[in-house]
Amino acid sequence: MNYDHILVRYGELTLKTGNRNMFVNKLKANLKSRLMPLQGYNVRANRDRMYIDVHEGADIEEMMSRIQTVFGVHSVSPVVRIEKELDAMKEIASKFADDFKDGDTFKIEVKRADKTFELDTFQLQQELGGHVLQNTENVTVNVKQPDHRIKVEVRKDAIYMYNRVLEGVGGLPVGTGGKTLLMLSGGIDSPVAGMEVMKRGVTIEAIHFHSPPYTSEQAKQKVIDLTKQLANLTNDIKLHIVPFTELQKQIHKVVEESYTMTSTRRMMLKVTEKLAHEIGAQAIVNGENLGQVASQTLGSMYAINSVTSMPILRPLLTFDKEDIVRKAKAINTFDLSIQPFEDCCTIFTPKNPKTNPKLEKVEYFESKFDFEDLIEEAVKNVETITISKHDDMQQQKDEWMDELL
């Protein structure tokens, strides 16, 4: 079948009324950016749906699979646009039927948005169904459970015909919901947390704590690679890498060992909050899950959370680990995350971290040293990298591989 358009249906954003244009424009921009490396298309959006003109020879399947992964897309169909003329419609309808096998059943489904069209729903079904029956051998109509559905939409500008509806990821277009700062550790959870908030239309920047020479360049590269995967889901993402060595050393000097983990998290949160203010983020996102590890008990969360009044979003709070793993695999971060490099959370892990730390105690230990200067210093020396999805390095990487393989 020679499809000439892709039809994109919006999900939840059709519920928006006042500011729907803003959502649609954002979705259009995100979609274009997702299709950027491909050739031969033109995107037209209106309030209810989007049509992508596909030029001849363009890879329509690749386009659709890309569009499916754009947040805010409810479903996608490859369609044929037909002038509002019955003979042309008949011809295309029987082309759809070319792929039917012997003994298959089908149904014509008509949706008439343009009520002025001369034939009504029933007449159209009869005309087109009759034509297909006449021109295709050994097929019958079954209106209840057909093997194939040929869908016909009568709209103001033209008729659209299609037979496939592919599901999109849903959610809201990224960039419509404000900005957050994601604490990206390199583990399995935090990239998934980032994905989850992006799905709600939120833009993210990422922050990572790096403690050279205790943590390696590989650990840093891993976080860069993870960010790249997230960028693949949306647009460029800024990654802020915080030099954390001095703070970490100081914590170990003054805080009792069983409390170092609690204190480390508190310092990270303080740095994150400061940076969030600087970049204009309105919330912090992390991959915390209730009860997964020592720092993720309610007691720990209380003691750690006390350093900030900024909202902390924990989209994975109640997820089971296997669900998180499944999601990580779906966004291609799992294999990166399980690479075994030490990060700043694992390198100084105390033997027996407090699972129920007392806020007064950790505050007491931290009072022995003025951490503010070190925090300022860390924020000042943040290294910011913009990670783009259209990454030339990735391409180069593949080229040398292809030559050898």
Partner: protein
């Protein structure tokens, strides 16, 4: 020189050697090293595995283990699976016409207390489906068979075997695919594991793969650093693994033209030899066209190999792996051939790049050799 011993080993492709050299000069890092260079190679190996799965059209149940060749692949699959399955049953089935790397492994398992039974083969060298059906019972845990016989070129009924084994879900079905890959179509997903050697498809010696399902349950036979899913420890031989992937890619790219060339050239040689009185073609008509087993009854195979060598034509007696043993070949015996036919047999195995001039030169030489040994031929057997 006319090389007609491709079932023993093939000539490596230039591109394959180039990948191998480049790996050794530029990308010699250990993929298990934590530094960037090592990580790069680990990614490369991952991609090679993915590609290989694609070339073999494997479903997601399969994993690819790089090995030193099909002998090791067969050993890992058979020993590893037998050990894993012995709780469920102790009977293992194979045929007498398998490659030594399968037969000897199965005998070793027999020594360890497994109950080894041989599936009969028919007169033309095919696994006898009825015999398999009779041997199957609830105690059977392992069935193994080759895809294409290395001596006769007979194609085994993998599809039928697989269908029968559907009723015995605990049976692991291993296929030794060495002589078939890229030359005979097969849906490998029908098996539970599948072995390959790179040097049989214009790759390098000392490398192969095992495609296998249920990798997490298999018992390793080599212990160490946990490479290759813990099944086959030892520093990953990245250069030969990459070269293998390259050889497979080329085999895959040229599959159709290769099959066409092998069929055309094999058929031509076959119909040429058929005309000679007293010379017997042992390979059945429905065997693969690229392996041809021929007997000059009354003349020893070794004499023939030497006679052809004089004209720089290289072929072999039976298989390379057993040609130096005095025992008569198991495959030919299983086919019920007389000792004289077996002793007088040679194997010609061709590659797609055999030229028409070479075929003509071979015909010439064949004619000369025939005249030299004609008096020794025993026409009536």
């Amino acid at each position: 020189m006319i090389y007609l011993d491709n079932a023993a080993t093939t000539k490596p492709n230039e591109d394959v050697i180039q990948s191998y050299t480049q790996m050794n000069t530029q990308y010699y890092f250990n993929p298990n090293s934590p530094h960037t260079a090592g990580v790069k190679i680990a990614h490369l190996i991952d991609k090679a595995r993915e590609n290989i799965k694609q070339y073999l059209n494997l479903n997601d149940k399969f994993d690819i283990i790089f090995t030193s060749g099909a002998t090791e692949s067969n050993n890992i699959a058979l020993q590893g699976m037998a050990q894993m399955k012995k709780r469920f049953g102790k009977t293992i089935l194979t045929t007498k016409i398998e490659h030594p790397s399968v037969l000897e492994t199965m005998r070793a398992l027999e020594d360890q207390g497994f109950n080894l039974k041989y599936i009969n083969t028919t007169k033309d060298g095919k696994l006898d489906i009825e015999s398999l059906k009779k041997l199957l019972n609830d105690d059977v845990v392992l069935v193994t068979c080759m895809h294409v016989n290395n001596i006769m070129g007979q194609i085994q009924p993998i599809e039928e075997i697989s269908e029968i084994l559907q009723k015995y879900p605990k049976v692991h079905f291993h296929v030794d695919g060495v002589q078939g890959f890229g030359k005979v179509p097969l849906n490998i997903n029908l098996a539970d594991s599948y072995s390959l050697s790179a040097h049989k498809f214009h790759g390098l010696k000392g490398s192969g793969i095992l495609a296998i399902t249920q990798i997490k349950m298999i018992q390793p036979i080599i212990f160490g650093g946990g490479q290759e899913y813990g099944v086959r420890s030892g520093t990953v031989n990245a250069p030969v693994n990459i070269a293998l992937a390259k050889a497979m890619r080329q085999m895959n790219d040229r599959k159709d033209e290769n099959i066409k060339a092998l069929t055309q050239k094999g058929t031509e040689i076959r119909s040429f030899i058929e005309k000679y009185e007293g010379v017997r073609i042992n390979s059945p008509k429905d065997a693969v066209p690229y392996i041809l087993n021929v007997s000059f009854p009354g003349v020893k195979g070794e004499v023939l190999v030497n006679a052809f060598s004089k004209y720089e034509i290289y072929l072999s007696t039976t298989s390379a792996c057993s040609s130096k043993k005095s025992s008569h070949n198991e495959t030919l015996k299983a086919m019920g051939l007389s000792n004289m036919i077996i002793e007088g047999s040679i194997r010609l195995s061709i590659a797609p790049d055999l030229t028409n001039e070479q075929i003509e030169a071979f015909k010439d030489a064949f004619n000369k050799v025939y005249k030299e040994v004609k008096e020794l031929l025993k026409y009536e057997l």
